[in-house]
């Protein structure tokens, strides 16, 4: 019997091990929480999700372009460009490797059928290795083009004690399923910004797998603006004590857009920390499918993870009618020996009263709206490490506000 068939009362670390046989889906026992998540590299190990499963219930399955059910043709190619890829940049090595490369998979294991699909279908992976203290590296993830579907695999890894910054920019059209691994070596620090700047038609379903070595740090910021449907599932695994993960997110959903963020921070070793802060703004439009954001924040503190310190917070700002924000923070704790653990979620509306108040002090409506949104996103944008990128994203927020002309 595979671990996927265990019930929620039998939570243990073993249950996270790869289960190559057995399927988890409509027919299986639904997990009570993330403790017993089913993991596999093999797409066939997962049943085709119908949309009612816990981890798919918010996702509009019809808009997935068949990435989840085997009907996608994967007839396109998602080109990965690395700006420092000419080999001239100090401390940056870019390789294209086969599936059998021993480094592939060190970041983590797919936890849903689309990620496993991408894993089963990719032929070549791009591996970017960062050594020492290189200049910031920009990686562009190009969509396969309108109407096409593709898979991709990217691994970003550091060497021990390296300190590096990477920007991954998602651009273009089409449907893309991918896995991005972040393998952060002992004592190193990786700062990463992943942007979803897709064209309006694009679908992006991405599994992010973060593996932190001893005393390793990742500061990851997720920025979601574009695309028809974007679903990003980052998982943090601590492979040794002393790891630290800071995960920030900024999303701006317009009418008809579905932006989904599913985080799992899996504290399995002692003396590690995590801090999660995700903020989304939404603006819908009458007569169009609701602007929709979904934030799932699972944090596990397993029995062995003593002295864990963790906090997670999701805030959503609903700017107009015809918008919907779902937020599900979840903290499961198996040990009392922790340094601190907390979670919070708040969804608020930018309402007529706030607008009236600001306007009654002479502030024009458009300025008032910008004030509120800028203030809301300020603490995330302030953490974006590269100045030009930060300015570009600030401008993108302003442009989003101009979309509805409010």
């Amino acid at each position: 019997m595979s671990s996927s068939q265990t019930t929620g009362t039998q939570a243990s670390a073993e249950n996270v091990a790869v289960a190559a046989e057995g399927k988890y889906g409509q027919g299986g026992v639904p997990p009570s929480g993330a403790m017993e998540r089913f993991l596999s590299y093999d797409v066939e190990a997962f049943e085709v999700p119908g949309g009612r499963e816990e981890n798919w219930r918010f996702t509009p399955m019809k808009r997935l372009r068949g990435l989840h059910d085997g009907t996608a043709a994967f007839d396109g190619t998602a080109v990965i460009d690395v700006a420092a890829g000419d080999g001239s940049a100090d401390g940056v090595t870019v390789e294209s490797v086969g599936r059998d490369d021993e480094r592939i998979g060190k970041g983590g294991i797919p936890a849903d059928r689309v990620a496993a699909q991408a894993w089963s279908a990719f032929r070549e992976a791009t591996v970017v290795t960062l050594d020492g203290t290189p200049e910031p590296v920009t990686i562009t993830l190009n969509g396969p083009g309108t109407g096409a579907t593709a898979v991709a695999h990217l691994q970003i890894r550091t060497t021990p004690h390296a300190e590096a910054t990477v920007v991954v920019e998602g651009r273009g059209s089409g449907a893309l399923a991918d896995n991005i691994e972040f393998v952060v070596a002992d004592g190193s620090k990786l700062t990463v910004v992943v942007t979803e700047e897709w064209a309006d038609d694009a679908v992006h379903v991405s599994g992010q797998h973060i593996a932190l070595g001893r005393d390793a740090t990742i500061v990851a910021t997720s920025v979601a603006f574009g695309g028809d449907l974007v679903r990003v599932s980052p998982t943090v695994n601590y492979t040794a004590p002393g790891g630290s993960a800071e995960l920030f997110g900024l999303g701006f959903a317009d009418a008809g857009q579905h932006l989904e963020q599913r985080l799992l921070v899996d504290h399995s070793t002692p003396n590690c920390s995590s801090n999660v802060l995700y903020k989304n703004a939404l603006q819908g439009e009458e007569g169009v499918t609701d602007a929709h954001t979904v934030w799932i924040g699972d944090v596990l503190i397993r029995a062995a993870a003593e002295q864990t310190e963790t906090f997670e917070f999701n805030r959503n700002l609903v700017l107009t009618a015809h918008a919907r924000a779902d937020s599900v923070p979840n903290l499961e704790i198996e040990t009392g020996e922790i340094a601190g653990a907390g979670h919070a979620s708040a969804t608020g509306r930018f309402d007529d009263e706030q607008l009236f108040y600001l306007q009654s002090r002479g502030i024009p409506e458009d300025v008032a709206r910008r004030l509120v949104v800028r203030g809301f996103f300020g603490e995330i944008l302030a953490r974006i490490p590269v100045a030009e990128l930060r300015e570009r994203l600030e401008a993108a927020v302003e442009a989003e506000l101009a979309v509805t002309g409010v």
Binding site: Q359, G362, P364, L371
Partner: protein, 255 residues
């Protein structure tokens, strides 16, 4: 010399049961240098008058006019009214999460003055105004009104009044919910604003206690959606003694 003229103002609010008329022909003129107190029982429409003049979207103007120095206020947007020189200190100031008080004050001053105030003098100006109202400087970095006590909110309303220097200020129950010390601080703030410029004050209140600190030139009794009696400061004393019964009866008979 600014003048706010309210002429035969009618306003209604939309309820589930349809439109309900609240203001039923308000006539009132506030000239620079004058302090007017509007007193009336709960539900008489005093606050509606304040919000209707400021342009709150909840209220629909169904008749009459409001002129500021001859300009038709009712044709202006909410922010245009403020830039024209009107200010409403609200009974329930709104919380605006994520926007710092400092940023808010500067944005408002920039809009009302038509240009961004020079940073160096601005910082000093804000600090001085906060000190006057016994507001801790730490409030500048907090989100607008978020988590403020009732008294702190009222002090910040008067802080905005002192920085924006409107031609006519409408104070809607600025005294409600204040303890004795806060009432004194807030009243002194209003008196400083009044003394510093040739401005008009329209003070809306349910109680007479704030009138011990701010002396009105005119007192108006508001009932049934309009002014039913006007007089000098002595009218407030009469209300203190006899209450509103006489006027609510008269308003009911008239409507």
């Amino acid at each position: 010399m600014s003048t706010l003229e309210i002429k035969d103002l009618h306003a209604s609010v939309t309820t589930d049961a349809g439109a309900k008329e609240i203001l039923r022909g308000v006539d009132l003129t506030v000239r620079a240098g004058e302090t007017h107190a509007i007193m009336g029982p709960n539900g008489s429409g005093k606050s509606t008058l304040a919000y209707a003049i400021a342009g709150h979207p909840k209220y629909e103007i169904t008749g009459g006019e409001v002129l500021l120095d001859g300009e038709n206020v009712l044709e202006m947007t909410v922010d245009e009214r403020a830039r024209a020189g009107l200010f409403l200190a609200m009974q329930y100031p709104v919380e605006v999460p994520g926007v710092s008080m400092a940023n808010f004050l500067r944005s408002a001053a920039t809009a009302v003055r038509g240009e961004a105030p020079k940073l160096r003098t601005w910082v000093k100006e804000v600090k001085g105004a906060m000190d006057d109202l016994e507001i801790d400087q730490a409030f500048a970095e907090r989100s607008v009104n978020e988590g403020f006590s009732g008294g702190e909110k009222k002090r910040h309303e008067v802080l905005q009044l002192s920085l924006l220097k409107p031609k006519v200020a409408i104070l809607d129950e600025t005294d409600s919910g204040l303890d004795v010390d806060a009432l004194r601080v807030v009243s002194e703030g209003v008196n400083r604003y009044k003394a510093a410029g040739d401005v008009g004050v329209l003070l809306i209140t349910h109680y007479t206690r704030i009138l011990k600190h701010i002396t009105p030139d005119f007192v108006h009794v508001f009932a049934g959606g309009k002014v039913v009696e006007s007089g000098g400061a002595e009218l407030a004393d009469e209300l203190e003694t006899n209450g509103y019964v006489k006027f609510t009866g008269a308003a009911a008979a008239a409507s």
